[in-house]
């Protein structure tokens, strides 16, 4: 869901030129914090702008001031220290695909990034932007929860850290407070026996998924030991599907029968009917996808 397309039709005018706003390019992160503090709710940060600008063009939102944080060096960069990988908020989706560090240590992110939009979108869109926007159909929020990431949030008052699973509060809603920015995301290096699994059902390459699954699974001798399954596209936010994760643990692989977790899928996932897709169909698709992702891990292990 990029935006609620019915919104624009409920207006009298179908519009494609943004309302007037002011623009500022802060010199430093501290400067950005001061601007955000000074302008309160009137100010909206912009980095890649790949979701924000589409909404502005349609006048679905009307900030008074755009704060361009895209050039702030403090928000860029990737590093690894003491078993933690730190990705700056400005890490672009395309970099997730290219980065050796990400591909080696966080393959889930690299797998997911390949499904985000198209090359031109991945060249601009950022990790921090995707998490802050908190689209329930987006890939990266789900991956960050599956990977037990911690978000570093900064403001004029200083920095604080929030676990990804606590960060996403609801539909397009996060724990970000007024004046706060995502500075970086910290990922614990996955344990040796866990494997990343990712799949989504999208009508076209790069579309938002009807249903998607980001999974971290530990397995031993063809049996699932533990799983952390995070669905997107069919819940209001990125969160661990706790019952399904428990239900699949202990299953022999390959999983042939989905009965062991069908009930739990209904318990954890509460999709709404959307135009052209009933909730019931999404649940069925989530079930199929779960089995496929789990079994793809067997294939991965075998190869």
């Amino acid at each position: 869901m990029l935006f609620d397309s019915t919104l624009s039709l409920k207006h009298n005018v179908q519009i494609m030129k943004a309302r007037n706003f002011r623009y500022i390019r802060p010199d430093s992160l501290q400067h950005a914090y001061r601007i955000l503090e000074e302008n309160g709710g009137d100010a909206v940060p912009i980095a890649g702008g790949q979701s924000l600008l589409a909404g502005l063009n349609m006048r679905l939102s009307a900030p008074k001031l755009l704060v361009d944080i895209g050039g702030l060096k403090e928000l860029a960069g990737q590093s690894q220290r003491d078993g933690t990988i730190r990705l700056g908020a400005l890490t672009r989706h395309g970099e997730l695909l290219q980065s050796d560090l990400v591909r080696k240590q966080l393959p889930l992110l690299a797998q997911a990034a390949a499904h985000i939009g198209h090359v031109a979108i991945r060249n601009r869109g950022t990790l921090g932007g995707s998490l802050a926007y908190a689209d329930p159909a987006a890939e990266l929020p789900a991956c960050s929860v599956a990977l037990r990431a911690t978000l570093v949030l900064g403001s004029a008052a200083g920095e604080r850290e929030v676990k990804a699973e606590d960060f996403f509060k609801g539909l397009f809603e996060t724990d970000l407070r007024p004046g706060e920015l995502i500075v970086a995301v910290k990922f614990p290096a996955p344990q040796a026996n866990t494997t990343a699994g990712f799949a989504e059902l999208a009508r076209r390459r790069g579309d938002f998924a009807l249903v998607g699954l980001a999974a971290m699974v530990s397995a031993r001798r063809d049996r699932i030991e533990g799983a952390r399954l995070v669905y997107f596209g069919c819940v209001d936010r990125a969160k661990v599907a706790a019952s399904v994760s428990v239900a699949v643990s202990g299953l022999a692989m390959p999983v042939l029968d989905t009965a062991a977790f069908e009930r739990e899928i209904r318990q954890d996932l509460t999709p709404d009917d959307t135009p052209g897709l009933r909730a019931e169909t999404k649940l069925h698709m989530a079930t199929v996808l779960t089995r496929r992702v789990l079994n793809s891990l067997v294939m991965q292990a075998a190869s």
Binding site: S5, N12, Q14, I15, M16, R19, G276, M285
Partner: protein, 792 residues
């Protein structure tokens, strides 16, 4: 035709388009690229309701906004334009309420324009449009055709007393008896959702009314400048010779830019009111609620056949929702009429019954879009015959071989009323079978089914009416010209300038015309310059629609070329004192055919013809500019045909469908340029695949559009589309010298048919059938679930 000198750029050659270097360098000139001095921009305030009464409109705050020149309502605009009544006179009983430019008392579809805001820039017009306050009182909504015809549903237009725009039936032979006595009858229901043409460039125009001389120039992204010249003149009461319509580069048309739109007319009126140029470019969101849409049919169809394999009868019952008014000029009966008249055309059978109804609903108007009703006929025919073959235990290809109309029966009139003269069903089928290695594909399909991989192979035969003639549009009362024309002038330097009445939205028509002119005269294509799309300078004509450009405009170019060549040779004969019969033009040189020697260059002919007439005998009449027009007076249409195949895989767990391969064998008559023809076929095919698998305007039950963005309306993109193999059978049209029939819609028609059949072929092991287009994953899964529960 200069067959003895056929060059690498003449008729039949793969000539790259002359326009492409310009278009590929960013030097195209589309409507929104053009600026005129003192030009204003208009933005429309539209109804957010499918049906509502206007209680009040307050435009005062908008008038005060920065950059605003005027804010115009129905009271300002409507009286200046004769209302449109989209009724076809040759269809008895067809009716529509008159359509005014801006909604005045009530709006009858979501998106109907209400207020025009005109400002210095589009952004400022939009700023001000947001300030227009309209108070609405919503009225009961007629959401679809079934509701619209249910007893007790109020009429959208009270003066029509019900919602039926048109109700037409036909019967040939004794269908009731044939159905009763048949060994087998198979019945299916088909549902086609609404879709968009979705040209990448949206609609647009710049209207420039000049109060100084009362003239109107409209630069218009339109497929038929002559149609619009007539409309502007007639409805705005401007003498026709003072109206000029120019089509610049156009970013795709597909029929959608052939229709007539009230917002476009209102923009022209705004230019007349203000005496300044006004630009109106539809933005993408607006296109969803204002472009003419297509399809929206519910069809029941039956086939009756015997154990012997003989088809004895077919029946079609079509109910189409056509929006809130009849589409002016182009009407809204065409899809239904084509669907029922073309159904069954390739097959031998005698008994036929059909009915089509066009029904008003509170939705945007249905208009022309590539294929019109022809794909619906193809789908119904090919799915039913494929199922009939299955029932008989006959391979579907073998069934087609046996039941296609034999060549020996041509010419003939089908039970639906189609005249078939030079069709080539059998040749196309055999070529296709070879092309796809049919038996190998079937074998692979069977093997994979054992591994729970469900693939389907669909073959679809189609007829394509092209190039409608005067018997088709003439009786409708609409001033739509089905002729085209061509002016040619030998330039003094020996090159040739051509002005055609055609337009080009990317088909490459202008290059095709250049090929014909070059070939006919005997010069290379580099020596020919072609322009089109200007109603003031070329002979009168129809433009580019209904797959007609090359067939009609090409024939006119051929005739003009023949005339010019004749005049050149006459002059060359006089200059060189040689009988013209002994001369020919080869590679830009006049040649003595007896000696084979060049006798004079065209440059010298031109130089003498324009500057040294003093050296000619006093009575030699030099005519180096010629004009020719062409129309097939008695021709309803030409009839192209072809066969396509789709190979698909259905993921029966998720309902996702992947098209693995697509093949087309097409007979469009004489192929002028295979590069262009293949482009038309492939482009049409992808629109056809899009229609069957992806494209749908999703409406709520009460007619609110739910997916009005390009993120939500799914157009096929490169990653999902297959490679497409194209081959040809050439059976020239017999009634013209050129022999071209037309190709614009064939790809779409055949692909829609073959994908429908292929997907349902894949689902056969489950006994499941999907009949609701587009075939979304959910509809496929629902079909499988119905089959599992014993329903079909």
């Amino acid at each position: 035709m200069n067959t003895n000198t056929r060059s690498s750029t003449g008729i039949g050659a793969r000539v790259p388009r002359l326009e492409l270097q310009r278009l590929l360098s960013g030097r195209g000139r589309y409507i929104d690229d053009i600026k005129l001095p003192r030009m204003l921009h208009v933005c429309f305030v539209r109804s957010p309701h499918p049906h509502a009464r206007i209680v009040s409109i307050n435009v005062e705050p908008a008038k005060q906004a920065r950059g605003v020149e005027a804010v115009l309502t129905a009271a300002d605009i409507n009286p200046r334009c004769e209302p449109f009544v989209g009724v076809a006179l040759h269809r008895p009983g067809h009716r529509s309420a008159p359509q005014l430019l801006l909604a005045s008392e009530r709006a009858v579809w979501q998106g109907q324009p209400v207020v025009a805001v005109i400002a210095d820039s589009l952004a400022e017009a939009e700023d001000a449009a947001e300030l227009v306050a309209i108070e609405w009182a919503p009225l009961p909504v007629v959401g679809d055709q079934m509701q619209a015809i249910a007893p007790g549903t109020p009429a959208i237009h009270p003066e029509l007393d019900d919602n039926v725009a048109f109700d037409f039936s036909l019967e040939r032979g004794e269908p009731a008896k044939a159905f009763a006595e048949a060994d087998y009858v198979i019945e299916e229901e088909f549902r086609f959702e609404r879709q968009m043409a979705m040209t990448l460039e949206t609609r647009g125009l710049i209207a420039d009314f000049n109060p100084g001389d009362g003239s109107l120039t409209v630069i218009h992204a339109h497929q038929s400048p002559f149609q619009m010249q007539d409309v502007f003149s007639r409805h705005l009461k401007i003498p026709e010779h003072k109206v000029r319509v120019i089509a610049p580069d156009i970013g795709g048309g597909f029929g959608m830019k052939l229709n007539l739109y009230v917002d476009e007319m209102a923009a022209v009126v705004a230019s007349m009111v203000l005496g300044r140029p006004v630009k109106f470019c539809v933005d993408r969101l607006e296109s969803f609620v204002s472009d003419a849409q297509a399809r929206d049919h519910r069809i029941k169809a039956r086939i009756a056949f015997m154990k012997s394999g003989e088809i004895v009868a077919m029946e079609m019952d079509d109910i189409a929702a056509v929006g809130a008014y009849g589409m002016p000029m182009r009407f809204n009966v065409a899809e239904g009429m084509m669907a029922i008249t073309i159904t069954g055309a390739p097959y031998s059978f005698e008994n036929y019954k059909a009915r089509t109804r066009s029904i008003y609903v509170n939705k945007n108007l249905i208009g022309m879009y590539r294929g019109v009703g022809m794909p619906l006929a193809c789908i119904a025919t090919e799915l039913l015959t494929d199922l009939a073959a299955d029932k008989l235990g006959i391979d579907t290809v073998e069934f087609k071989r046996r039941t296609y109309r034999p060549k020996s029966s041509l010419p003939c009139i089908t039970p639906g009323g189609q005249r078939l003269e030079t069709v080539s069903f059998h040749e196309c089928l055999e070529k296709l079978v070879e092309l796809i290695d049919y038996d190998a594909l079937r074998k692979e399909q069977r093997k994979l089914r054992e591994k729970d991989v469900f693939r389907g192979l669909g073959i679809a035969t189609f007829c394509e009416q092209t190039a409608y003639g005067p018997p088709y549009y003439g009786p409708s009362g609409a001033p739509i010209s089905t002729q085209d024309g061509c002016n040619l002038r030998l330039e003094p330097s020996g090159s040739v300038r051509c002005v055609t009445s055609l337009t080009d939205q990317g088909q490459g028509t202008l290059t095709g015309i250049a090929q014909i002119v070059a070939d006919t005269i005997g010069v290379s294509i580099e020596q020919v310059g072609v322009i089109g799309g200007d109603s003031s300078i070329s002979p009168y004509g129809g433009g580019a629609w209904a797959s007609r450009g090359m067939a009609i405009g090409g024939e006119a170019a051929l005739r003009a070329g023949t005339m010019l060549k004749h005049n050149i040779l006459a002059l060359a004969g006089t200059i060189t004192q040689t009988p013209p019969e002994a001369l020919d033009i080869i590679d830009g040189q006049v040649v003595n055919t007896r000696t084979g020697q060049p006798v004079i260059s065209l440059a010298d002919v031109g130089r003498i013809g324009y500057f040294r007439q003093d050296t000619l005998p006093p009575d030699h009449d030099v005519q180096l500019s010629v004009s020719a027009s062409f129309v097939g007076n008695d021709k309803m249409y030409y009839m192209a045909n072809g066969v396509q195949a789709s190979y698909v895989e259905v993921d029966c767990e998720t309902g996702f469908i992947k098209v693995l391969g697509q093949w087309a064998v097409d007979d469009c008559g004489r192929v002028i340029n295979p590069l262009l023809v293949d482009g038309q076929v492939r482009g049409g095919i992808v629109q056809g695949i899009g229609a069957v698998l992806y494209e749908e305007c999703i409406y709520s039950d009460d007619a609110n559009l739910l997916n009005g963005t390009m993120a939500d309306y799914l157009v096929p993109m490169a990653d999902e589309m297959p490679d497409i193999v194209v081959a040809h059978v050439e059976t020239p049209e017999a009634s013209t010298k050129l022999g071209a029939k037309g190709i614009g819609e064939a790809g779409l028609i055949g692909a829609m048919g073959s994908v429908w059949v292929a997907v349902n072929d894949a689902l056969k092991p489950f006994g499941a059938r999907v009949r609701h287009q587009p075939f979304t994953p959910e509809r496929v899964l629902d079909a499988l679930a119905r089959a599992r529960s014993g329903r079909r």
